[in-house]
Symmetry: C2
Subunit: 338 residues, 2 copies
DNA sequence: TTGTATGCGTTATCAC
DNA sequence: GTGATAACGCATACAA
């Protein structure tokens, strides 16, 4: 375990050539079973371990997949990542994970670092404020597979994995209206991001379908961080026409809103019906329990992992899989009940 | 952006030797500023980018830190990781993250993979059921820095970063008793892990200090997964002497317990006072809000990152930092009130 | 089926 | 202050 032993050592030890050692270890078809067995045995005996650095240099591959996500410590993201990790791991790939912390600058830096690290592929979920996508060009130009997950953007040859946010927004809004709400406010994250923008579009469409008029002042854009709750509440309190429905595009923030509203003596769901998004564990733990849209984070991760590995290995038809859309589901709980 | 350009290309282009290029790019002191500038300029012009694979092979370093944690999708772990990532990133290190999913087998596999990947160091938080630590030996023998975070074990030359779980357990129990509880039950994760075992020790000590007798049947070991809540509740219901205090060693599980108890018509905190652990966001969102022990996950991550990088760079005295203990804090909320 | 030889792109040791 | 040159450890094209 002290000195590093190489294929040359094995070669000397067994009186064969280094090439034979290399081929044996890689299970190359042209090597006799006898030789292979001999080599593998000796390798184990001497505690041989391939030098990945050399392999990487030789093959110009790293067996590594880069990941850029906004935040590690959100339930959705870490669940998604757990899915990616599972698949990647089983396929023998390592994950290099970096977070943009919702800032383009950091995202740009991360992209550069990952590119320079020589990742074989990259998985991205965009930051709140990304509007320019040039930092992904190196990957595209170098034909390094790039897949967007959840927070996506259309770039040539970059598949996307999403849910139908438009339909989900529609479903949530529709549900609230069926429960009798007339004046539904939407609390959203950055509208630069498809996940939020599309849900808002769905919201608008649902209003229309139910014969309601869209009012700009009922869209409230925020960072969805807990500290912003007060802004939301005071905004709600000062609206001319009282809000009776709240569509919050993240469960964790919805939970904070519910808590703050209760403190202000609003009854949920009697005064205001609330629906969230994500089916975060917290949605079942708040009082009242939170209606929400189920969001298949883990499956999204699995799928992203599988897709990117297929792309690395080249066994995929890009045309076929330009956008994968997963199924969402409305979950009715107490916060939107009657 | 098409063809990869190397230091040889730059050398030819500028009529100097590859060595000079390399030195210039690495800001070697023996190179004249004039040459350096010239080289850097040309490098940018041609879009030169170092080949990390070659650098790694040459230096036998990867600028990469491996991480093994039980689960990505827990608030504490992802927060801790966010801290590590921040430090590592700033220091130019990449993180290769893998999860054991609370299984030794997977942990062992991950360790092997990371070792073979040639990580420069490794950060570990142990799985529930790890009892044999041989899979970490290769790192120790190869003098690859290894630091345990939170769920730790004492191995030679492997510093640990923890909180004082004994004291925290003591504090939590003591608090409950000061609130008037007489019969406190502990819901714990695997007692093979220091984080849980030490808290239970603290619990026992607090009992003793308050003149109470320890009863074995008041320790309930579980996976702390939400599906196990029913077992806990039915156990509680069938105890001879009614439980009036609950010390749950994870907030998320405590939240589930509270919910289940309320469903069984227990009043919290009147019938049973509850305290959790971690100060997970959910602790502020449940009703009643959950008393807990603040757990500095992010700081732990920062510290782990800093320590491991110091160790990689060799500027540290191992003796001095064999165990770093961070400060915890009791947070009193409604669930343990009067 | 196996051996030989070269190159992957750097860094580092000697020279000069 | 700069240039040659030899590793680093492996995979592979070409020979045999």
């Amino acid at each position: 375990m002290d000195k590093k032993i190489t294929i040359y050592d094995l070669a000397k030890e067994l009186n064969v050539s280094p090439g034979t050692i290399s081929r044996s270890l890689n299970n190359h078809p042209s090597i006799s079973k006898k030789t292979k067995d001999k080599v593998v045995l000796k390798a184990n005996e001497l505690g041989y371990k391939v030098n990945k650095f050399a392999v990487n240099l030789r093959t110009q591959k790293s067996n590594t997949i880069g990941v850029i996500i906004p935040k590690l410590n959100s339930h959705f993201m870490s669940t998604l990542l757990a899915g990616v990790e599972k698949v990647a791991n089983e396929a023998g790939y390592n994950l290099i994970i970096s977070q943009s912390l919702e800032s383009v600058e950091k995202e740009r830096l991360n992209a550069k670092t990952l590119y320079n690290s020589g990742v074989d592929a990259i998985l991205v979920s965009l930051a709140f404020n990304t509007e320019n996508y040039d930092h992904f060009l190196p990957f595209i130009n170098s034909k390094i597979p790039l897949i967007f997950m959840d927070r996506v953007h259309n770039l040539p040859n970059c598949p996307t994995i999403v849910i139908d946010n438009f339909q989900a927004g529609y479903d949530a809004t529709n549900h609230l209206m069926h429960q009798g709400t007339k004046n539904i406010m939407v609390i959203t994250g950055s509208l630069k991001r498809n996940v939020y923008a599309d849900r808002v579009l769905g919201y608008k469409e649902a209003l229309k379908a139910n014969g309601h008029k869209f009012k700009e002042e009922l869209i409230f854009e925020t960072t969805l961080e807990s500290k912003s709750v007060d802004d939301v509440i005071s905004y709600i309190k000062h609206l001319d026409e009282p809000v009776d429905g709240l569509f919050v595009l993240a469960d964790s923030f919805a939970a904070h809103c519910i808590k703050a509203l209760k403190k202000e003596n609003y009854n949920i769901p009697q005064d205001i019906k609330v629906i969230g998004f994500n089916n975060d564990p917290v949605s079942q733990l708040v009082t009242p329990t939170l209606s929400t849209i189920e969001y298949p984070g883990y499956n999204m991760g699995l799928l992203a992992g599988e897709s990117i590995i297929n792309q690395i290995k080249g066994n995929i038809n890009l045309q076929d899989t330009n956008a994968i859309s997963l199924r969402h589901k409305l979950i009715e709980r107490e916060s939107s009940g009657n």
